[in-house]
């Protein structure tokens, strides 16, 4: 494998008594696209928030570009963050700024570029995500899918070495999903960018991933239950993994309760039989 860009080792995160991440370890090499999968509430987004340094782990280490961001003071994190881009699930655009100003923001703050050049870069990035001519719109004036694409353009503004994406294709139509997938693939395979993508969209996941990990639910909450290339995941023996990638309602991850479980959950556990002394 190529030189690692991300090395996560024994990552544990507890919120009170609840353990959300329980000993996660993985490595992402340069130019790879790692897809993180798992059911809702399994800790995917929490894991991503650890990777971008907004949540600190209870224990374990996270090395990005060789630097341990888990123990790094906030003031030094900025240096690492300038090297990566992040696409938030909601786009997270600044509502008070136009689309163009949002995309230009990282360039204005860190690029020290001429305003003419910034204008040009903004147009190029918006062209990449199919939003030419939307520079002067405000985020409230465009659709949710468009906001997400602007978020992607902003994440790519500084040509990052590493891109994190949280559900990049949710809310996009099939054509735009293919465009975003193709863009991610082009950036990683042709330009050597590394990508970490959290997604539920299996078509998209198998289209872009070079490697995949799946987080478990229930008793295996917060652990990696499967890891491998897309082909290895497709033929993974775990019924949990198969249920997830095939999108089946019945399987080891139960969504429907048995009649007894349903009555117990509804009315509480039956009282212990009354005994007379």
């Amino acid at each position: 494998m190529s030189a690692p860009v991300i090395v996560v080792k024994d990552l544990v995160r507890r919120f009170g008594r609840r353990t959300v991440l329980n000993g996660i370890s993985f490595t992402v090499g340069s130019g790879e696209t790692l897809v993180i999968m798992g059911g809702s509430g399994c800790g995917k987004s929490t894991l991503l928030r650890h990777l971008i340094g907004v949540v600190r782990p209870t224990s374990g280490s996270i090395r990005i570009f060789g630097e341990d961001i888990a123990s790094m003071p906030e003031s030094e994190l900025a240096g690492v963050r300038k090297r990566f881009g992040m696409l938030f699930q909601s786009g997270a655009l600044l509502q008070s700024m136009t689309v163009g100003e949002n995309v230009a923001l990282p360039l204005v703050e860190h690029g020290k570029l001429d305003p003419g050049v910034i204008d040009l870069v903004v147009k190029m990035k918006l062209e990449l995500v199919g939003l030419t001519g939307f520079e002067d719109f405000h985020p409230a004036e465009i659709s949710g899918g468009m906001r997400k694409r602007v978020g992607l353009a902003r994440a790519l503004a500084l040509d990052p070495e590493l891109l994190f994406s949280d559900e990049p294709t949710s809310g996009l139509d099939p054509i735009m999903t293919a465009v975003v997938d193709e863009l991610t693939s082009d950036l990683t395979r042709k330009l050597g960018m590394t990508a970490v993508v959290v997604t539920h969209d299996m078509t998209s996941a198998f289209r872009i991933a070079t490697r995949m990990i799946m987080l478990g639910a229930g008793p295996r909450q917060g652990t990696i239950i499967a890891e491998g290339t897309p082909d290895e995941i497709r033929s993974h023996p775990s019924p949990e993994v198969q249920q997830f990638i095939k999108g089946e309602a019945d399987g080891p991850v139960p969504l429907r309760l048995s009649r007894d479980d349903y009555i117990e959950r509804l009315l509480g556990a039956p009282p212990a039989p009354h005994t007379r002394d």
């Binding site: 992040m86 909601s90 997270a92 509502q95 703050e109």
Partner: protein, 246 residues
């Protein structure tokens, strides 16, 4: 409390130290906030101050008339406005108008991941969002207070001129004789102090929002209540320092 102290320390760093290290705050954003905080508040400040000056003159005239001291109405209006009513009244307006808006705006940005997005883009939210708002407030509040003082005195003059039959020269003579420059300066010093308190309390409440729309509502209420109480305590302390120790 610890978060407020930390925010104040960061604010001082970004305003006083960082510009000399090449990390300047956004002057354009300070101006934009100044327009929102000051110019949009002008009609309300002018009307409220005029009304308070007007009613203050009527109330004092009805009492002073009993003692035959109607000519002292301008003295009372000018001193009470410059020293106390002006700065406190305008601060109350600004807490309700701008302090609550700062909290709601930053709180909404927090729950919609905008603040997190700034941090991930290596943009410090205090430099980007808090510094322009607090600096705008530091400039706006003394200006609004000065305007409020003027409008309050005009309100007092209206009563004296048209209801008490006092001529304008006499009004000015009394108003200026009663108040000295220190009354004006002390009021302006108070307004700068209030601006800092209101700005930091409101921004801290906004940045600390947890729990969606309900959290924004709670934080906004807390920000207004804490801002008002802190401002009133600061006012009492400053009045004691400026006037009570003499």
């Amino acid at each position: 409390m610890r978060a407020l102290v930390a925010l104040n320390a960061q604010l001082l760093y970004w305003v006083l130290v960082a510009p000399f290290r090449g990390q300047m705050f956004h002057a354009r954003e300070v101006l934009r906030q100044l327009v929102i905080v000051a110019s949009h508040a002008l009609p309300m400040v002018a009307l409220t101050s005029f009304s308070v000056g007007f009613t203050l003159a009527m109330q004092s005239a009805s009492e002073l008339r009993k003692l035959g001291g109607e000519m002292f109405v301008p003295d009372l209006v000018s001193v009470s406005l410059l020293r106390e009513l002006g700065p406190v009244l305008i601060a109350v307006i600004v807490i309700g108008r701008s302090g609550s808006a700062f909290t709601a705006e930053l709180g909404t940005m927090k729950v919609s991941e905008e603040i997190e997005a700034l941090e991930v883009m290596a943009i410090n939210p205090v430099r980007f969002l808090v510094v322009p708002r607090v600096l705008a407030l530091l400039m706006a509040l003394p200006m609004l207070t000065a305007l409020g003082n003027c409008m309050g005195i005009v309100g007092g003059w209206t009563v004296c001129r048209f209801m008490l039959g006092m001529n304008t020269d006499a009004f000015i003579l009394h108003a200026v004789r009663a108040a000295d420059a220190w009354d004006l300066y002390s009021g302006l010093i108070k307004s700068v102090t209030f601006a800092w308190i209101v700005g930091t309390v409101a921004c801290k409440a906004g940045l600390g929002v947890e729990g969606g729309a309900a959290g924004v509502g709670r934080a906004t209420t807390n920000s207004v209540v804490t801002g008002l109480l802190s401002m009133l305590v600061a006012n009492a302390v400053l009045t004691a320092i400026f006037f009570f120790g003499e």
